[in-house]
Amino acid sequence: MSARLVLDGLEVRHKTDDGGHGRRLLSGVSLAVEPGEFVALVGSSGSGKTLTAMSCLRLLPPQLEITAGSIRLGDQDLARAREPELNAVRGGRLGMLFQQPKRMFNPNRTIGNHLKEPLRLHAGLRGSKARAKALELLAEVGFADPGKGLRSFPHQLSGGMAQRAMTALALAGQPDMLLADEPTSALDKMLERQVLQLLDRERRERGLGILYITHNLASVAAYADRVLVMNAGSIVEGGPAGELLTRPATEYARDLLAAAQLAPASRRRPSPGEGDVLVLDKVGKRFGRRRGNTVLEDVSLTLRRGEILGVLGQSGSGKSTLAKAIVGLEEASAGTISRRFDGGAARPTAVQLVFQEPHGAFDPRMTLWASLQAPLLPRRDLPPAQRDKRIAAAFKEVELDAGLLDNRPGQCSGGQLQRATIARALLLEPQVLICDEATSALDALTQRTILNLLLRLQREHDLSLIVISHDMDVVRYMCDRVAVLLEGKVVEVAETRDFFAAPRHPHSRALVDASIPCRADGLWSMLDARNPAVRGNG
């Protein structure tokens, strides 16, 4: 039985109360994945990629329905199949990987308990035979101690291990085809690379077809045979990866490509003599009295005037605590943070923060206007008319339509809210802006626009920026200098160019290796990354 996945003219629509159909969410989606092929489905959030995958599994929410088209896996017509047949296909011939692996496990059951299900349903294994197979699978996906893995509960696994466990779960059903829905979006670059390598290896060894869904072209550029671009519910372009990456036909594809290929911008670099704006001297932070809770230790950094300093750290490195300490939300247990600009100590709001979670930064009950007005209220010297003017001006600067001011956060997109956060920070005429993973929650296209916005504002207002991120592409794009944070300590500080060309600390080297490599002139190409020697599969 051939294992080709073919979608032909798939259409999904909302169901209306009166039994008819409303909005079209997917229209005319046609694609094919051959056995052993790695096909990337790329698009920004809301383009319909996840919906496509869920449609293949016929797991749409009750208010949606497939109204046209076919879904075939080999000889089976999945669009018309009945539940018993579908249950055999789901998790069996057609496996799925999800975006946030830890949430996809039942928190009250062990991994072993989860593995029992597909092994029993699809491989017909029970008892000790099932256990043996489960151990085998966990070892295959990279568990150093499969026995322990079987006994573990989902919350005891790290993000990366959870994704591997999820992969084992999908493999247990002996799939012909894998649907991977952004399985690495929640992971940092190193883990992303490891998961991709795992998937690629399974693809080659088992002859699996993979439909890999992502919003970030860069992550799959190294592995995809073909790339399909999706926008607003339809596939707008598709073709062999090599061609699409060099000669994209549609404008949307070109935008995606540009967003993925963050080439370092050219900026005027401040010279050291212009003075420092923020000095961190041996800053430490401990929570509680136990030694084990040291989050930051001996951190010394200098932010020069007009500079963009990057702080590169993975999760658990202490970067969020650092951001909070600089801004004054947390008090340092040791060391000093001094502000060296005019009126530094007198103006506590001169250092502002842009958060990672745009929706969380606003009170959901207040309109954007009310939220932007709040920081201006203590300013007695500003009459209400002036206030409104300032707010309108701030919105204009971040290229947001003033009409949005009447909206509540729930009615705005992540990108819009992030701009609003920046506008709000600007109202206080800050000298320093701390961006704590400011673009991590956004998709690739939106990320790029926000980063460009920050660059422009930095230029126009002569701001000094600290950009905290786990994403090396962001750091490479924006920053003049890079500091690497590992387990609460700064292990390296260097000029960006030097850092990426020749990182010194072993951790820095590991980070740089995981990202797509540079060529000597600072530009890099995704095509280079497709070289197997570079991919690390050798």
Binding site: E83, R90, G91, M104, F105, N106, P107, E117, P118
Partner: protein
Amino acid sequence: MLQFIAKRTATLVAAVAVSSFAVFLIPYVTPGDPVRKIIRSRVAGDAIEDSSVQALAESLGLNDPLAAQYFRWLGDFFSGDMGLSYVSRTPVAEQVLPSLAVTLSLVAMSLGLAAAVALPLGIISGLRPGSMPDKAITAVTQAFIAMPEYWVAPVLVLVFALKLSVLPTAGWNDLSSAVLPALTLALRPISFFTSAVRAGIIDAAAADHVPAARARGLSQAQSIIRHVIPNGLVPLSTLFAVWFAGLLGGSVIVEVIFAVPGMGRLLFDSVVNSDIPLAQGGVVVVVALAVGVTTLADSVHRFLNPTVGGSLA
């Protein structure tokens, strides 16, 4: 974990300390001579002659500092000597323990009944929120909370005992006399349990891992049975323990109405008759047991569920 148990035990000790000290003070703060009151609770016989008061006070250590007296009293208490009832002139302990047994069985029956009713109702409601069965179940069970026990009980007695004569009006003799009290006591737990199970099932059904289970090939039914229902019932376990503790002290009305010889009735009688030693014994035992049960339940819950981080009381 150990820290958690320590904190919880501290709460238990504090509760017992506060309540025991408060009841210990009763003879001292209520009108009348504290000395005579205490002698009456310690020495058998009906009347105390004035001449022996001094000597008795001395022998009972009533001239010692208050704190010392308190600790002596507490020590006696927990070694089984709770003094003599003013009314019956027999040791309080002999009345408290059997009464406790009665109340424990009444509460156990009520909660068992409540769980047996709430589980299926809650599951039906939770699996199809907003449907007709759900609305009906929610409406009826919500109404239970608004029904006072002192209204439901007489009505039930009127219908089943007086008009239909199938059940006794009062007393605690055999299983049939337990039906109406247990039923009355079970109404409020039924309401809260059903609501909790319903909410638990709704949350469990909305969890991300449920479609993931479907994606593995489990049918709708299998995913509900294996993943939704077990997860949805989790909140019920702590609720059960909390209600057990709550009903221990809250069975007063039911016991008085149905003449059930339990702790609630004992406490009520002691208040009405100003039987101080009996009240002291009853209060401390109930508090200790109620707080002890909640502490135990919380610890077990914490132990079984290591993902629960930090108790917000």
